[in-house]
């Protein structure tokens, strides 16, 4: 597979801090690339540099064979961006917003109308196209922005927290649209999200923390790397239970989060029956599961995704 984005030794420093500390990664053509990290990890800085919005201190970024520092306009023409915040003109109609975008991106005149209808169909807004955007719901606006991002047939679509602030149902719908798009158009997608379950659809994810990329692989591989099973349990007296676990159980990695004790073991099948017998405190809740991206994230960064880096 060809790589469509290639980032080498990318660095961005401000007066006192180094926001991005010389990172390297490649994104392959046609894949969904998840880009994760806690707040303040340098994610936005990196994306802004890739999207020509911020000048790197050093390093190189190649997108679609164009150098971001030299060929800005060619890069801008090859990418579509769905920003975290709304960037539609609310006083204009959906159709007018799309038409403006066609003109900004020099879509050939005779193809504009056809493409507008095409993207509107993808996001199910054909009947609403003559309405002003200010009358749209949050979900509709998001869909319209995605439609707009597709108008100029970008090689890479950047989705920066595309579902933030939407209700779960709309979120699920939106992902359907995005996946449909990937199947239909084969567009490469560069995705950031706070909802790690959403990142599961990625072909590969990169985890960024404190200006560095600390892991990069497919979600399955990352989870396998973590290995084993996770047992979550609550007891009538967690403190007492913890004491007992620390004394008697050697093969599990133990962490505590609020009123739940997490045990990470190589295989729950062999472990669980003997474990239950060893524990004297009555168990109130027990749950066995495979690791999720959340666990991967926690293991790599020591934080949950919503937490901000503490100085």
């Amino acid at each position: 597979m060809e790589s469509i984005i290639s980032v080498k030794n990318l660095r961005k420093s401000y007066k006192n801090t180094e926001a991005v500390k010389g990172i390297n990664f490649e994104v392959e053509e046609g894949e969904i690339f998840g880009f994760l990290g806690p707040n303040g990890a340098g994610k936005s800085t990196t994306i802004n540099m890739i999207c020509t919005m911020l000048k790197p201190t050093s390093g190189s970024i190649i997108i679609n064979d164009y150098d971001v520092s030299k060929d800005k306009d060619a890069v801008r023409g090859s990418i579509g961006i769905i920003f975290q915040e709304n960037t539609l003109d609310e006083k204009l109609t959906a159709h007018e917003n799309l038409m403006l975008h066609c003109r900004f991106y020099k879509v050939p005149k005779e193809k504009r109308e056809e493409r507008i209808q095409e993207v509107l169909e993808i996001v199910d807004l054909v009947n609403e196209q003559k309405q002003r955007v200010e009358t749209f719901s949050g979900g509709m606006k998001r869909r319209l922005e995605i439609a707009r991002g597709l108008l100029h047939y970008p090689k890479v679509l950047f989705l920066d927290e595309p579902t933030v602030g939407l209700d779960p149902q709309t979120r699920a719908h939106l992902w359907e649209y995005i996946l449909r798009l990937k199947e239909k158009e084969g567009i490469t997608m560069f995705l950031t999200t706070h909802y790690l379950d959403e990142a599961e659809i990625s072909d590969r994810v990169a985890i960024m923390d404190q200006g560095e990329i600390i892991a990069i692989d497919s979600p399955t591989a990352l989870k396998d790397q973590l290995g084993g099973d996770i047992i979550e349990l609550s007891t009538e007296d967690n403190e007492q239970a913890l004491k007992e676990i620390n004394e008697k159980v050697k093969e599990a990695k133990v962490t505590v989060e609020e009123d739940t004790i997490h045990l990470k073991v190589a295989s729950s099948d062999a472990f669980i029956s003997s474990f239950i017998k060893t524990l004297n405190i009555p168990i109130t809740r027990l749950n066995i599961r495979k690791p999720t991206l959340n666990d991967v994230f926690l293991a790599f960064t020591g934080r949950k995704i919503g937490e901000t880096v503490k100085e």
Partner: protein, 275 residues
Amino acid sequence: MEGIIAIWQRDLLKFFRDKARLFGSFTMPILFLLIFGGGMSGSMETMMAGSMPKGAEGFNYVEFVFPGIVAMTLLMTSIFSAMSVIEDKDFGYMKEIMVSPISRVSIAIGKMLGSATVATIQGVMLFLLIPLLGLSYDVMALIQVIPFMFLLGCALSSLGLLFASLINSTQGFQLTVQILVMPMIFLSGALFPISNMPAWMDFIVKINPVTYGVDVMKKVMVDIENLSAPVLDAMGLNISLFGRQITIFEEVLFIGIFTTILVLLSTVSFKRANA
């Protein structure tokens, strides 16, 4: 080119949709016309007549001040229309423009033309008041003055644009612009003649693009051929630079150069915005 037209059309479309803005912008010039044109014309004329050489009795203040008020409207509208850049920043639309492959200079020109066009339209709308004020201008002269109004609009819009590209809040912009707009009106000869100013003030008058814009507009609109030299003097229509009377061509050139420089500065500012 396509990008420039797209940005320009968007601004126009939004202007015509915003009915409140369309009519609200009328109140200020009407107020000024009432105060300066109606209320103060008598005292202004007497005041002038006192200091005026003989032969200047034909001085009609309302005729003098009308082009000035049109120019003032151009100034206000141009600069405040440039505020759309800040609104676009606030509402996020500027990002959509900035990540697109439109060249930065096209963004600046498109925005500048948008404000200038809106300003010219509002200026022309003031022509409707001419009969009410008991004035009569030659229709041809009124048509001829429109391109000059547009040019002045371009100069002032480019100024507004530069400020808007540098400032991030609407409040900050309004404050800065207020400080700028008032001297630009009063030290331009729009509302009263600017002869016999102290040297430092005269300097401001001479670098103020509104001075030349207003002067050209007056020269085109007022039938100067039939006015005696003292009246011309009284109206301040004999601006001289380095001891030489300047021509309409030179004035237009000055405004053109002013606009070009400011558009280029705005372009640099747009480029730096994402450095």
